[in-house]
Symmetry: C2
Subunit: 404 residues, 2 copies
């Protein structure tokens, strides 16, 4: 049985007109003789309305009742889609998570799907039906409704694809796919046709808002091909797949930039083993994520400067922790809020020498000063002054021929 | 275990403010040491919005998906009530019909509760919890959501009261109780403190809009005391109970009047056995309900006049059926749309001679002509010209001392 999972996001089902359009997309797929499992989010805006109600009822709204409340949104969307498919002559029905069931573990508002019972849905597929499954939710072992904390309906789609061994998972959303860089920041950004999970993970965690990293990671672990595309425009989207499916590698697949970093520098730290740990341990305890780190080679062998980046929102908390911690010795504490991280991402760089040099040279040619560098196998990130981000993106996009 | 079922209608939970008020009512009841089972309708307006969506999706919306769609309204209301109770320090949770489960039989959109599993709710009550149960719905043997055709959430409340052997079922609504007659038609109408099921059934089916007859009948069959009261005003409402609980019987408990009757007269019908059946059979087949019937004594023993009343909306259909049916012989067919039925209702009339006389005399004193009469053990109805209804209500209300 060739199964494809189709997932529609909130904007794709955001009005009656859009739901009718979604039904047409499903019908077109159905004609290709795939067995379809459809997953839907709530109509856009609905979840926010429900959340507002919850806040008006209590500033400490019960999390188990919160899940009952917001999960109603997907129930509505799924019944409308199923009814529309029936209207245009297809066999369809809504499947609520308790009817399948989709089992979750973890806490309310923050659960994770751990088991999907396949029997009923498989039986329904065999009879030629198109099941419309509520995304973003499941039930726990006490038969209470739960919602999925991270990844939402995307995570539901990926897990359905996993359990039903789907050939592909198509994520319909309001963007056309994944771009070489944020099209809002750079007009020349181009849609990427094919990208590896690893690259997508770097793109996603660095700011591409197409899919949550947790869902991409789940897809990677289960080798599920994901296609991200728009439900409004008839164009192919971006295929996210395993590296070996990508035959024609470009050196660099995409660029990303951040907007909410801050740089912290401790000047004159004692240069002895364990000093970095002493600084980062209390930050980690306070759930402050340290991203880039650089330690200068000390001139006299006794003192060093330590620089790291954090999220801008964590800055005041970080200041407080460091200045109140008597174990950390340093001469001066410096901060900079006006920094941004610009990264080039591509599996191709593994096999291509000189990528780092080309990146640095391109930035230097624009007189952009690099403050911190961090690299991974498929990514090179540099911290620069925020005012230079746009210039950096233009230069790097051109340097690595991303406009094709 | 002394159990009381509290049911809140759509207007009672129609806003966040009203839901907070409902939580206060529940808390006050809880302090009286009753075990409570709460049933809620959807917030007023919500069901209509969902129905509108369904009509926009399809003029022939799947009835099974319709039930999935509209049942979400009660899910939202119940989660908000439960969360509010938790907020004010009580143990509570929503119970969706599949979680209990509440089992139904019959068709989608028109199901009837036939079984409620008591175990989980009883267990929860024993732990001191206040369950908030979704009204108006259940699941069928295929585990699909169903909605209750007639009686809605009132029917859910009565059936919960039945299965849990509740002492009382309190129906919170937007009226203060049952009145001696419609307060919109007669300002002097008084709230009735106590009324028998039988009287209430007559009141309900004759136009009092407080509760649907089917729910009152269910309560009567199961001997469940119902209290109808307003969720907005702190006043006792109307108790609907068995006759023997009513110690101080007035002769007449209430008056009712209709607004949508029509009178049909067949002049010169052959006076032979079976003629009435021949006329009423095709009407019944077409689901046209014949209410009052009167047949004149024929002067010559050969011909008679047959008069009956129907709903005004069925008039054109009735005309068609009678005129197209060759088996019905008559000389003339007469219609009157401007008729109304006025009734006096009271279990007291059984033991009191002369009630009919007093009614007719009171109407005659106002020069109101009686066109048709029908009587039951606890009710006398007369058909009069619609223009006289108000005058008739004033006269009868005074005659039977309903203003007390």
């Amino acid at each position: 049985m060739k199964i494809v999972v189709l997932k529609f996001g909130g904007t794709s089902v955001g009005s009656i007109k859009k739901i009718k359009n979604v039904a047409k997309i499903i019908k077109a797929y159905h004609k290709k003789r795939y067995k379809l499992i459809v997953v839907s989010s709530a109509m856009s805006g609905v979840t926010n309305e429900l959340v507002k109600k919850s806040k008006d009822i209590s500033d400490n709204f019960s999390s188990s009742e919160y899940d009952v409340l917001v999960s109603s949104g997907e129930q509505v969307a799924c019944s409308l889609i199923a009814a529309r498919l029936i209207h245009i002559g297809l066999k369809s029905r809504s499947w609520l998570s308790w009817q399948i069931p989709i089992m979750t573990e973890g806490y309310h508002k923050n659960s994770k799907i751990n088991l999907i019972n396949k029997n009923k849905i498989l039986n329904y597929l065999k009879k030629g039906g198109i099941p419309i499954v509520t995304g973003f939710q499941g039930i726990n072992e006490n038969e209470r409704i739960t919602t999925i904390g991270r990844g939402g309906s995307d995570a539901s789609a990926i897990m359905l694809a996993k359990f039903f061994k789907a050939e592909r998972c198509v994520i319909y959303t309001d963007v056309e796919g994944v771009y070489t860089t944020d099209p809002n920041k750079l007009k020349k950004a181009k849609k990427i046709k094919i990208i590896s999970y690893e690259e997508m993970l770097e793109m996603a965690s660095l700011g591409a808002k197409v899919m949550q990293p947790v869902s991409i990671q789940d897809a990677r672990l289960n080798r599920i091909d994901i296609e991200v595309k728009s439900s409004f425009i008839k164009k192919s989207g971006t295929l996210i797949t395993k590296r070996k499916n990508i035959t024609k590698n470009k050196i660099i697949t995409g660029l990303s930039s951040t907007q909410n970093d801050a740089k912290v520098t401790l000047v004159g730290v004692k240069d002895k083993p364990g000093v970095a740990a002493m600084i980062f341990k209390p930050l980690s305890k306070n759930l402050i994520n340290v991203d880039m780190v650089v330690q200068n080679i000390s001139a006299n062998g006794k003192e060093t400067d330590l620089t790291f980046t954090i999220k801008r929102e964590d800055l005041s908390k970080t200041k407080k922790i460091i200045s109140e911690n008597k174990n950390i010795n340093y001469r001066r504490l410096l901060f900079d809020k006006n920094v941004s991280k610009v990264s080039i991402i591509g599996v191709g760089m593994v096999a291509t020498p000189g990528v780092t040099f080309r990146m640095f040279q391109a930035l230097a040619s624009q007189k952009i000063n690099i403050q911190v560098i961090s690299t991974s196998e498929i990514k090179i990130s540099v911290l620069i002054s925020s005012k230079n981000v746009k210039k950096a993106l233009i230069t790097l996009h051109k340097e690595f021929k991303l406009e094709r």
